[in-house]
Amino acid sequence: MSYLAKRKFYYSILLISVIVLLLLGIFSLFVGTANIGFLDVCRILASKLPGIQKLVSTDNIRGSSADIIIKLRLPRAVLVILVGSGLAAVGAAMQSVFRNPMAEPGILGLSSGAGLGATIAIVIGLDKTVLGLSAAAASAFIGAIATVFIVYNISRTGHRISPTVLILAGTAISFMNSAVIQLIMIFRRDRMDYIIMWTMGSFSSPSWNKIAVLLPFLLPGLAVILFHARDLNIISTGEETAKTLGVEVERTKKFVLASCSIVTAACVATSGIIGFVGLIIPHLLRLLVGTDQRVLLPFSIVGGAAFLLVCDTLARVAAPPAEIPVGAITAVFGSPFFIALLIKGKRSVM
């Protein structure tokens, strides 16, 4: 179905999706181990909103409830939404830049670089906090950016970058980073648990600080990606063709990949490696709303957020008091759904 014919329709669906996402967000605040009623959640939230805070009374709500909502569940939900939207949008954009449906946020070695950065911080026992973030997170961010920098320079010839070489170099460096992480774990068995927990990715220690650190990377990054949506469509049909259609291909690739790297690095640094969202959500949405980035990117942002929010809520409440790693939930619930869609898509072709 062509973009023009369905544009209006898509934008109304998008609006509905945003509302659904907000409702999911509120819903996620009232499920959890501590039993806080739905109305109490609403009242606690309202009491923090400027303007109407005087109208609601929170007298008969326990102070600990308010703390749980405001200091734990709300920042957690916000963090999950931000990371989900960032990873899914990056995946969608990268698939276009690389003209490769297997492209995902980790493809340039970002995730493994972050993992290595965090591992090093963990084993040398850095426990300072930087801007309210753990040393591991800061080190992960540096590791991710350093890895991309190396990968980028390997793939560059003059002022051009070859997507194929980028993917290969990214994959090679990923393997190397993972190998180094494993070696470090062998030599420092005492720290193994921390490292494994970190690399599995989780939102179990949310804070408003993390959000404040994440936002300045995430929002400009997403803005740059959205700004290039139409160019990404054209590049996804071939770089040479894109040039003849007036796209500044190399410049667009540089801007978009730099933004993707920064967004991914910030997401991974604040919440560890969360796979699957960046690969599958864009594809899932491609099957539903088509491949035009002007539609796909906004839907990926909302869809990635909603999907990760549901998964994280399940991770919190499925087996209390333990928490399941959210990465496991994304795969366990996402894969069958995706496979079902694939099979359905295949039938409609046959």
Binding site: M1, S2, Y3, L4, A5, R7, S96, R99, N100, P101, F227, R230, N233, I234, S236, T237, G238, E240, T241, K243, T244, L245, G246, V247, E248, V249, R286, G290, T291, D292, V349
Partner: protein
């Protein structure tokens, strides 16, 4: 003063790394004419076309449009002047035919604004000319190779450029569509005054539809001129290493080439 919409190639050399592929190419392509680029595989036709379209970066002061050096033009300026139908197209993602044709309007649409009525009408006009109106809503992944080729031609037409470069535009088409597309291409030159440059492998189509032919061999222009002067059996034998007969087509009075056999060693006497 340079003629409007003419393409001038002056002493163009091009190498891929150390490998020299084009040498001292001088050519001039005029508006209102269909120019053919002919030559055996690997002789440099695609490379020349990509230099003119600035897909490959030519040296300074070698390729001019309307007297302007193309290396001084932005991608967007070039896209309004030159459209390209590449030799091969493979599109990984599931766009509709109309989406692809609409991409031809990209040089005219500002960021964040959407397609105007005029853009939509132009795209429809292009699809009509290429004979693919019925395919508009089909997925680009579920159409035949020949249909895809016509979609790409429609996209180039939607660009409304003054110059169109085609790299083997009809090599995958059936005989009806070969003729109908070549007739369309000719209309672009004769009625719309466009400058048309097309690579062709079929010598007979070239003889019928080209007003002027550049024949490349190993990266140099070996011969150039009107079809009847270039497509002689001596020249064809020399450049393509084949034995052939050349008649005059009684309908069009153009040369008609009948290949007999290749001059490969061990393939009979020469």
């Amino acid at each position: 003063m340079e003629a409007k919409n003419a393409v001038d190639v002056k002493n163009l050399d091009f190498s891929y790394g150390d490998r020299k592929v084009l040498e001292e190419i001088c050519a001039r392509f005029h508006p209102g004419m269909v120019c053919g680029l002919l030559g055996p595989n690997g002789s440099g036709k695609t490379t020349l076309l990509k230099n003119i379209a600035a897909i490959l970066k030519p040296q300074k002061n070698t390729v001019y449009i309307n007297g302007t050096d193309i290396t001084d033009m932005t991608a967007n300026e070039l896209a309004r002047e030159i459209s390209v139908v590449p030799q091969n197209t493979y599109i990984e993602f599931d766009f509709s035919v109309q989406d692809i044709v609409m991409m031809g309007r990209a040089p005219y649409i500002k960021r964040f604004s959407s397609e105007s009525e005029e853009d939509i009408e132009t795209a429809q006009w292009a699809m009509r000319i290429a004979g693919i109106e019925d395919l508009a809503e089909r997925s680009i992944k579920n159409i035949s190779g020949g249909e895809l080729q016509r979609v790409i031609i429609a996209r180039a037409l939607a660009q409304r450029s003054n110059i169109i470069l085609l790299d083997e535009p009809v090599s995958q088409l059936d005989i009806y569509h070969q003729l109908s597309i070549m007739e369309t291409v000719r209309t672009l030159a004769y009625e719309y005054g466009m400058t048309v440059v097309t690579v062709l492998h079929d010598l007979n189509l070239a003889a019928e539809f080209c007003d002027y032919i550049y024949l490349l061999k190993d990266g140099v222009i070996a011969y150039s001129g009107k079809p009847k002067d270039v497509l002689t059996y001596e020249i064809i034998e020399e450049v393509y290493k084949i034995v052939c007969l050349v008649y005059e087509n009684p309908a069009s009075k153009k040369p008609h080439i009948v290949p007999v056999r290749s001059m490969q060693e061990g393939n009979g006497s020469c």
